[in-house]
């Protein structure tokens, strides 16, 4: 290999079990892009055009290996009717879940990705990013998974209680959430985006392995099965702790697993033979520390993980915090380029 690879070429090689020129560098830069562009997070989250421009501006600044279309995990729930709170400089959070009591489940109407709420904002953003940079960069769209979406339909603690008190109803909610996820996945795929499932509420920091296996995993599996039908390598991100459910991750059907708080070495030995790993510089670290520390952390992580048998992508354990100093992200990128080389 003599020529330099584009991120798309690099990512493509990884997905067909070939060693690229260097480790794919993919910090999860989402709303932080608003800061780079100089717009509010509210604007970023509510305008497809702004979101795309911000993603493109962030890429121009940092040169990471993929774009990330994402605003928050309440996206699909909001399209169902839940109310989110938007702030100028923070990500949207759940304000009022749309199912106040369990009897209202029957009223749930699956949203239309092309018309309802902010789903078209996502699509517009994908379209612009794909048109502008899709020749050299994969455009990755984060899809809030059924369990997390259900939590945002009912309220998180409510839904956790449902899973104990009204398991049948909980499954009904999850079923319609799964259908909504598939519709959104489908719409995003048609525009050229590569979906990544995000399921923060399925983390062991929030639920037990038993709840994960009963209420999260089967629905994740339905989504990965759906994407496998199109020969897509599926990606799953679960933030927080996932060590307790690590053996269950392959059963979700995912080919790429983005992990957060787990020990990387252990994750490599437990999953790395069959699953490509994405991780896991701590978001707190990248927000709070300095470039030299970040550089060291990245060097040691990439050195430890680049020989993961099925492949490794250096990333952050969760999204890059909005106010992360730009020099910290640049230090992340530079260090991963320098130490992540396989050839040259």
């Amino acid at each position: 290999m003599n020529g330099r690879l584009t991120p798309r070429e690099r990512f493509g090689l990884l997905l067909i079990d070939e060693e690229p020129d260097r480790v794919v560098t993919y910090p999860l830069i989402t709303s932080h892009a608003a800061k780079v562009l100089g717009c509010t997070v509210r604007d970023y989250c509510t305008s497809g055009n702004k979101m795309a421009k911000a993603q493109i501006a962030a890429w121009k600044k940092y040169g990471h290996d993929a774009l990330s279309i994402f605003t928050g995990v309440g996206l699909i729930a909001e399209a169902f009717g839940s109310e989110l709170h938007f702030a100028d400089y923070d990500i949207p959070i759940l304000l009022n879940p749309c199912i106040r009591n369990i009897e209202e489940i029957g009223d749930l109407k699956k949203p239309d990705p092309y018309n309802d709420c902010r789903l078209p904002v996502y699509l517009e953003s994908i379209d612009i990013c794909f048109e502008t940079l899709g020749d050299i960069l994969p455009v990755i769209v984060f899809i809030p998974s059924p369990f997390t979406t259900a939590g945002h339909l009912r309220g998180i603690s409510e839904f956790l209680m449902d899973s104990i008190r009204h398991p049948e109803e909980a499954h009904m909610i999850l079923k319609i959430c799964t259908e909504a996820c598939i519709d959104l996945i489908d719409a995003c795929m048609k525009l050229g985006a590569h979906p990544m499932l995000v399921d923060p509420l399925a983390s062991s920091s929030v639920i037990s392995p038993m709840t994960f296996n009963k209420f999260a995993k089967p629905y994740l599996r339905q989504l990965t099965d759906y994407m496998h039908r199109f020969d897509l390598d599926t990606m799953l991100h679960i933030c927080g702790e996932t060590e307790e459910i690590i053996d269950d991750i392959p059963c979700t059907g995912t080919e790429l697993f983005s992990f957060d708080k787990n020990d990387p070495g252990q994750t490599k030995s437990e999953l790395g033979n069959n699953t490509r790993l994405i991780g896991n510089i701590s978001p707190e670290e990248i927000l709070m520390s300095d470039p030299a520390t970040i550089s060291n952390k990245v060097r040691s992580l990439v050195t430890q993980m680049k020989d993961t048998p099925k492949g490794f992508i250096i990333s952050t354990g969760c999204v890059v915090p909005i106010n992360t100093p730009e020099e910290n992200i640049s230090a992340f990128i530079d260090a991963s380029h320098m130490h992540g080389k396989y050839r040259y």
């Binding site: 003599n2 020529g3 525009l191 039908r229 199109f230």
Partner: protein, 486 residues
């Protein structure tokens, strides 16, 4: 057309050209068993990697961005062809990972792949075909890479192959590259020499220039049944056979196997099966009242004859499926063109695939092609020495002789398929188009009073120039139709 698999049946919808999104939706109706059944490298067994029946969306997500703008035939067989073709890059990597040898063929060496296939677990492929990649990806990265290596815009789009060779992200490092010298075009030569400088394992194969033995014109009608035959001086064959022997030594070295003439005879049979199917499909399509298959799929099909998109057995199966589809459509009086579609022969393959879409969008249809790969279209004869057959095949190449001989291929098709117009899509900066197009026009006009449109295919992303091509094609098709009406 119904396709059956054990007890499961899939029925094609009414023939139509559909977009990427419509194929995505239609794909939902295809039973899982079909996806699981159609596989490349079947001898490797069932692996999670060797399926290929996927809709355009799949390849769009992996970077073939142009697919969202193209129109496709809506049959299962055509989807197989697309999936198989789009998957070739991955297939070559999988071949290497599975321990097979991969051999690149460049230049007018479409006659060589049968020889390569005759070695066990050895796969030929055609880097030249990566000239479509910048268009399919709407990307200039391969051109930029070629430019970095010294080959810029003054070379034809085939310079993308140099970019791909340098990056090794589109195919793995070939175990050997067979490259043409002698009667090969200047563009290809500069590309091949640049690849040579990158230190890959290469073998130079000299192609002699084919002189006309002087019987041009006399056989226009007599040769109708052999559309692809070229005349050449017999001693050229001796020269090519000698070159074949040199190549065989090199292949033996690379594969660690002995050349087996019987194996080559067997491969030639399979190659002829593939070429025969392609011939029949083209003949059915060009002769039918309503064209049963779009021009773009016909081009994809024609190029399967070069190196079978790196899997000969599966290529044959797909061609058979397509032939069944096309025949059934014709039998039922169905097609994708109008009754009065303008009957057009297309000369020189358009690197920009959307131009073939335009043909039908504007009310035309394809009734013939001269896509510079005549050497891989003609059936190989059954000489007891298979190297003689291969050499004859090579000497039938489109571009190794005079422009008159190439024009002969076109004249036969005008005659046979009642063509009403000719489109010549020049390749921007190509060394042969600049002079050849004028001559081809002149030679055609010596025989037929037929409208001819020629234009330069523009590089990806040049939207304004591309719209000018569309305007010219619109006027051209309209002229033909007007002529018909009057």
């Amino acid at each position: 057309m119904k396709t059956e698999l054990n007890d499961i049946v899939y029925k094609d919808p009414f023939p139509a050209r559909i977009g990427c999104t419509e194929w995505h939706n239609l794909f939902g109706n295809i039973p899982d068993e079909f996806i699981d059944h159609y596989r490349y490298y079947r001898h490797c067994g069932k692996n999670e990697w060797n399926t290929y029946l996927y809709p355009p969306t799949t390849f769009l997500i992996y970077g073939s961005r142009y697919l969202r703008k193209l129109k496709f035939d809506n049959s299962l067989a055509s989807l197989r062809l697309w999936g198989f073709m789009m998957n070739e890059s991955e297939r070559l990597f999988r071949a290497k990972q599975s321990g097979m040898k991969i051999i690149a063929n460049m230049g007018d060496l479409g006659a060589i792949p049968p020889l390569i296939f005759s070695f066990k677990d050895t796969i030929p492929f055609y880097p030249d075909c990566y000239w479509w990649t910048p268009f399919l990806n709407e990307s200039t990265v391969l051109f930029e890479e070629a430019e970095r290596l010294g080959i810029g815009e003054d070379c034809c789009f085939v310079r993308a192959a140099l970019g791909a060779y340098s990056k090794l992200a589109y195919f793995p490092e070939p175990d050997l590259g067979i490259v043409a010298t002698g009667a090969s075009c200047n563009d290809m030569n500069s590309v091949m020499q640049s690849i040579n400088r990158l230190d890959f394992n290469m073998h130079w194969f000299e192609i002699p220039h084919r002189r006309d033995p002087g019987i041009y014109d006399s056989d226009l009608k007599n040769n109708e049944r052999d559309l692809h035959r070229m005349d050449y001086q017999p001693h050229l064959k001796t020269f090519v056979i000698e070159e074949m022997h040199n190549l065989i030594s090199r292949l033996e070295e690379v594969t660690g196997q002995k050349y087996e003439p019987d194996a080559l005879v067997g491969t030639i049979k399979k190659i002829n099966k593939l070429r025969g199917l392609v011939y029949e499909i083209r003949d059915i399509a060009f002769s039918a009242v309503l064209c049963p298959i779009p021009a773009l799929e016909l081009m994809n099909l024609e190029f399967i004859t070069l190196s079978a998109y790196s899997d000969l057995d599966e290529a044959i199966d797909i061609a058979q499926h397509l032939k069944d589809t096309v025949r059934e459509r014709v039998k039922n009086g169905k097609g994708i063109s109008d009754n009065d579609a303008a009957r057009v022969i297309w000369i020189t393959p358009p690197a920009d695939p959307i131009l073939l879409n335009y043909l039908e969008d504007l009310g035309g249809r394809l009734v013939g092609t001269e896509f510079v790969i005549n050497q891989s279209l003609r059936l190989l004869d059954s000489n007891p020495d298979p190297l003689v057959s291969l050499s004859d095949g090579l000497l039938n190449a489109s571009l190794i002789g005079t422009t008159r001989s190439r024009t002969k291929l076109i004249l036969r098709q005008i005659e046979k398929y009642d063509a009403e117009g000719i489109i010549i899509s020049n390749i921007f900066a190509s060394s042969h188009c600049s002079f050849e197009t004028t001559l081809i026009k002149e030679f055609i006009r010596e025989n037929y009073n037929i409208p001819i449109l020629s234009f330069d295919v523009v590089a990806p992303g040049k939207k304004i120039q591309q719209s000018q091509i569309l305007n010219r094609m619109t006027a051209f098709i309209e002229t033909i139709k007007e002529k018909k009406r009057s």
